[in-house]
């Protein structure tokens, strides 16, 4: 189809679809009139039976924990997929970045940026850990905390230390950390099976509501998810970074006139 024909066909289709969707909304309960019952039953059970005050975390890691396991592996598969798609092909080599436009070397990162980047790393990492371990009490958890953790690690890159970063976190170490995080969730789930109950059943003491050491397995699951997300995201971003920075040299001269 040419773009013009396609646009006309699309507008007809999407117009019809929009009318259908709009009609359906008329039959729904009004905005603000959520009538349950699923959410309300879960809210009650969350605090009384699991000592979890953040009900969203309770749903994510306990009631519907199996969804989250699937979600974690979607992330897992995506990180592997990016590594697969951006893997260096034989016609690419590894070299250091050269500014292709003028042939000049990249200016060294200024000390101020370096200090700022390195200085921000510890508090960011700490904040990430805080968000992970308080997931069952207040908003946050393994996913959000994991992303923050990864950001903290990447601040090192901002400080211009990609080589250091890469030395510290080689791919194999990151992959192993990710694998351990992913397997950790399953392992915790299997504890229930080993104890003679079902997958993802809680087998640990529930503790005092509101304490960090409460809510049974949920904080542990959060930790393993946090590890997986942090390691996976760093792996993902370093894969992109490597494409940007390291793999440029060999193909660039060919493109230059």
């Amino acid at each position: 189809m040419t773009i013009r024909v396609r646009r006309v066909v699309f507008l007809i289709g999407v117009g019809l679809l929009a009318v259908m969707l709009a009609r359906s909304v008329g039959a729904l309960p009004h905005f603000g009139a959520y009538r349950g019952p699923y959410g309300d039953v879960v809210s009650r059970a969350s605090v009384s039976e699991r000592h979890i005050t953040d009900v969203v975390t309770a749903v994510n890691f306990d009631f519907r924990g199996f969804d989250t396991l699937g979600e974690e592996f979607i992330f897992f598969a995506a990180v592997l997929g990016v590594a697969l798609i951006l893997r260096p092909q034989t016609d690419e080599g590894v070299g250091h970045v050269i500014d292709c436009a003028t042939g000049r070397a990249v200016p060294p990162t200024s000390d101020a940026v370096r200090v700022l980047g390195l200085g921000l790393t510890p508090p960011t990492v700490l904040f990430g850990i805080y968000v992970v371990v308080h997931g069952h009490l207040t908003p946050g958890g393994g996913f959000q905390g994991g992303v923050i953790l990864a950001t903290g690690v990447l601040l090192i890159y901002l400080a211009g230390e990609f080589d250091d970063l890469h030395g510290l976190y080689s791919d194999s170490a990151l992959e192993r950390a990710e694998a351990v995080g992913a397997a950790g969730f399953i392992g915790l789930g299997l504890l229930g099976v080993i104890a003679g109950s079902v997958f993802l059943d809680n087998v640990l003491p529930l503790g005092r509501t509101g304490s960090v050491f409460s809510a049974g397995m949920v904080p542990l699951i959060n930790l393993s998810v946090g590890l997986e997300i942090a390691a996976g995201l760093v792996l993902l971003l370093t894969t992109f970074l490597r494409q940007t920075i390291v793999l440029r040299r060999i193909e660039s001269p060919a493109r230059r006139p």
Binding site: F31, G141, V147, L237, T244, S252
Partner: protein, 79 residues
């Protein structure tokens, strides 16, 4: 619905339009990041702090970062 919620909803609708209407990828990455923040605020006023937190770390930070890295690669190759 409160006035605040209605206002932010309108902003989100307009923000989405801007994201699609911005055809230059670099500027679009910036607009998309703003759109992520708007969504985060919307989720806050819809009483969903967990979702808001993740939308902000993902939609306003991680995703635009990946877009920028891709752009850096692509622009680098262009020269």
């Amino acid at each position: 619905m409160t006035f605040l919620q209605a206002t932010i909803l309108v902003f989100v609708g307009a923000g989405g339009t801007c994201v699609v209407a911005t055809r230059d990828p670099l500027r679009q990455a910036m607009v998309a990041s703003l759109f992520g923040i708007l969504l985060g605020i919307l989720f806050f006023v819809l009483q969903a702090p967990d979702v808001a937190l993740s939308e902000i770390v993902v939609g306003a930070v991680a995703l635009p970062l990946m877009i920028l890295l891709s752009l850096a690669k692509i622009r680098g190759g262009d020269r």
